[in-house]
Symmetry: C2
Subunit: 107 residues, 2 copies
């Protein structure tokens, strides 16, 4: 077992969500210990909303849940990479991925 | 131009680095405004090391620089997804990706 380091980010682990089929990076969110436990227990992603300060079951209202396929831990055990099968778009804007905008510098 | 939100993480933007060819997620690191500017100016990744509290040009000592191919911004402009061509492994352990371990629960 790998002991996750929830201390570095005041109790939170940075989590990258990637589509298991397309390899597209869908979103980045944060898990506290409880949301990580629920993710393991349910096989669907749960996060901690920093803005709302609540547990957040991804897809609970939109239906766009994410079925966990695998979980990888980074070298210093403070970041997770979770491969999922998403039931719909990851982004609240309706885009498949939250990373739908290319960065363009102001000229 | 998209105004990046460096305020949410005390001056830092979470950055996901993905291999442009394989789509493998290589690492997650943090950029402050200066490292982001240097990344744009040089076309190679620069980060802010939270543990060492210094600017960090990826590959400066190892040679494993990362050539930036594209930069995407997430919906709330506090996270970047940077697609790179890496000159070598991203991880200091020598692994291609920092996410080389599967999470396994203690039974």
């Amino acid at each position: 077992m790998i002991a996750l380091d929830f201390k570095k980010e005041s109790g939170l682990i940075t989590t990258v969500i990637q589509d298991a089929r397309t390899q597209q990076v869908l979103m980045v969110a944060y898990m506290n210990a409880e949301s990580f436990e629920r993710t393991l227990a349910t096989g669907e992603t749960w996060f901690w909303s920093r803005s709302r300060q609540t547990l957040w079951h991804k897809g609970e209202t939109s239906g766009n849940i994410q079925k966990v396929q695998s979980i990888a831990v980074d070298c210093d055990a403070d970041t997770l990479l979770i491969s999922v099968l998403p039931a719909g778009p990851a982004c609240h804007t309706g885009h498949t991925s939250c990373f739908y905008r290319a960065y363009a510098r102001k000229e």
